[in-house]
């Protein structure tokens, strides 16, 4: 298993946001976490990136225990995230934002420009905006930038936290299409979504999170057909 989360407990002060969740992502998979507001999806993602403290439980990446290591070490190992709310640096240009993806790796300029070309191939819109400030992009463009920036780090596991948030349906379809093509390049994806129908269609496997617990898991199509899931997350 590429990523394995075992019995993860995370607190905010006295509030327990994750109450012992376990799940995993296999090499080459798209796995999605769905759940209502406040279920703990973002907390899970940030904990995997290493910016939340684990109270109990462990995280393994390629069999190695990474529970205690620093966030930048995790990026080095190949875990990168497009965070919830996109996290664009508003005062940096599109190019500078993208180059932040290579911060850990450093890397030569020739490598960087090859990676940039790759991102521009996926998101041609970003190329037109290359010298524009990140803060002046539209929501959709910012989301493309956030995903592109994470790709710049050459991840093995890409974490996407609600990439469709606030986007028009056309754009959502496009983003999911791009997630699939990223996955076809061999990058495993862990996807958090409220847009459950689309996410379950794209995913190999899925987990349902409810107030800090994993309450259900299965293949994407199994959960799409599950009446309880349909009632709760797919609008009946």
């Amino acid at each position: 298993m590429l990523l394995e989360v075992r019995d993860l407990h995370v607190f905010y002060g006295r509030i327990e946001a994750l109450k012992g969740i376990s799940f995993g992502v296999n090499q080459g998979e798209i796995v999605t976490l769905i759940g209502a507001n406040g279920a703990g999806k973002t907390t899970t993602m940030r904990t995997i990136s290493g910016v939340r403290t684990v109270a109990q439980g462990s995280i393994f990446f390629e069999g190695r225990d990474i529970t205690g290591i620093a966030p930048h070490e995790r990026v080095k190992l190949g875990i990168c995230q497009a965070p919830e709310g996109r996290g664009i640096f508003p005062g940096m240009t599109v190019r500078e934002n993208l180059e932040m993806g290579t911060y850990v790796r450093g890397g030569k300029d020739s490598q960087k420009s090859a990676d940039l070309e790759h991102v521009f191939h996926l998101f041609p819109r970003l190329k037109e905006r290359i010298d524009q400030n990140g803060g002046t992009l539209s929501g959709g463009e910012q989301q493309m930038l956030a995903i592109g920036r994470a790709l710049m780090s050459r991840p093995r596991l890409l974490l996407l936290d609600e990439p469709s948030m606030g986007l028009a349906p056309m754009l959502i379809a496009q983003i999911f299409q791009i997630v699939r093509s990223i996955n076809e390049e061999g990058i495993s994806v862990l996807l958090v979504e409220q847009n459950a129908t689309q996410a379950l269609r794209a995913a190999n496997r899925a987990y349902v999170l409810e107030t800090g617990y994993v309450v259900k898991s299965g293949s994407g199509s199994e959960l799409l057909d599950d009446p309880a899931v349909r009632a709760a997350y797919l609008g009946g």
């Binding site: 990136s49 640096f89 180059e99 911060y103």
Partner: protein, 374 residues
């Protein structure tokens, strides 16, 4: 008529105002950088400047052996050697201030971040005891002893505070800053050979008039200060915009959590930020001793207050704002003291600050390091 004085000496006042303002700008950068990254006002930054003046003093007197006030007795022969000397003194001042700033961060602030640890509580307790004791007793040794005795009980208080809240309160940083500031100044007052007295720093070059500009005599030291400060600011801007670590500083200032997710080591970036501010303060200190030829344990205080004013005036968190704020403040102070008399100099600076903040609460250039393209 005083206006007449302003009129007659306008360009003189402009040159010296720009020189003083450049020094304010350099020190203001330190306040602005740390504020941009940590949203923290580093009140001990003035003492980092003070340490730098002693770095310059030691470099010129001890390391280079430049004699005191002996005209023509300089130990260099050529203009090139003079330049080497100046750069050497500059580097020494920068090393003193830079290391001072880094030490300050590690001792007084680091352990208060996050949840605050025991070391942080002990340091904070000692500094609190020290400052409180200073209110009552005017003897540094006695203050140290009182502070040491008070450390244990105050530490327990802070620890329980840390444990209850999720993060150390902002007030803890303020206390630590003021305490550290006082402690550094007092340490210098105790250990230096002249104790609390003023030090004379050696004259490094003849302050000849270089050229005349609209009737004003432009002295060589003022030119060095203005040009030197500008060069340092250009170097800083290049570093912050182009280098990998500089990008890290901007990223943390704009969105610390996302920066961490992308693999920026925030702890290291904070250290870099303090070091950058320290190095700039060291540069300012060297230029200051070049012009004013003096230093003292408390020399940072007024200059620090002015530079902080400059940072706020330009827009705190904004690098260009620090430059603009410093220059504006230096000029306004000079013009005002010509019109109203020297005793009004400091008052005028604060009046200007108040007026600007009334109409532009975020300073002249507003945007912080977070928002602006620096």
């Amino acid at each position: 008529m005083r206006d007449w004085l302003l009129y007659r000496t306008f360009w003189d006042l402009t040159i010296t105002g720009l020189a003083l303002g450049s020094i304010y700008s350099l020190v203001a950068l330190g306040y602005t950088l740390v504020y941009g990254v940590l949203r923290l006002i580093n009140f001990a930054h003035s003492e980092i400047f003070m340490v730098g003046t002693f770095g310059a003093l030691m470099a010129s007197q001890e390391f280079l052996g430049i004699p005191m006030l002996e005209d023509g007795g300089y130990p260099y022969r050529t203009g090139f050697m003079l330049l080497v000397f100046l750069v050497f003194i500059l580097l020494c001042a920068m090393v003193f201030s830079g290391l001072g700033a880094v030490a300050l961060e590690r001792v007084a602030y680091k352990s208060l971040r996050g949840n605050g640890d025991l070391f942080g509580a002990v340091v904070l307790a000692f500094l609190t005891g020290f400052v409180v004791s200073m209110v009552f007793v005017d003897d540094t040794l006695a203050n140290v002893i009182v502070a040491a005795i008070l450390t244990a009980p105050i530490t327990m208080g802070y620890m329980s505070l840390f444990r209850r809240g999720k993060q150390s309160p902002r007030l803890a940083f303020l206390i630590s800053a003021i305490g550290a500031s006082t402690a550094i100044a007092e340490a210098m007052a105790i250990w230096g050979p002249e104790k609390r007295e003023q030090y004379q720093t050696p004259r490094i070059l003849e302050k000849d008039v270089l050229f005349s500009f609209l009737g004003a005599d432009v002295r060589v030291d003022n030119v060095i200060v203005i040009v030197g400060a500008l060069l340092m600011m250009v170097a800083l801007t290049l570093f912050v915009n182009k280098s990998r670590l500089g990008r890290g500083v901007r990223a943390v200032a704009q969105d610390a959590e996302t920066a961490r997710i992308l693999g920026v080591n925030v702890d290291m970036i904070i250290l870099v930020t303090f070091a950058l501010g320290g190095v700039m303060a060291g540069g300012a200190a060297m230029l200051f001793t070049l012009v004013y030829e003096q230093s003292r344990f408390n020399i940072g205080f007024i200059l620090g207050v002015k530079s902080f004013t400059a940072a706020v005036l330009g827009g705190i968190g904004n690098l260009k704002g620090a430059l603009l704020g410093g220059l504006v403040l230096g000029l306004v102070e000079n013009y005002a003291s010509a019109v109203f008399g020297g005793q009004w100099k400091d008052v005028v600076a604060f009046v200007v600050l108040l007026v600007v903040l009334m109409f532009r609460p975020t300073g002249l250039l507003g945007e912080s390091l977070g928002r602006a393209r620096v």
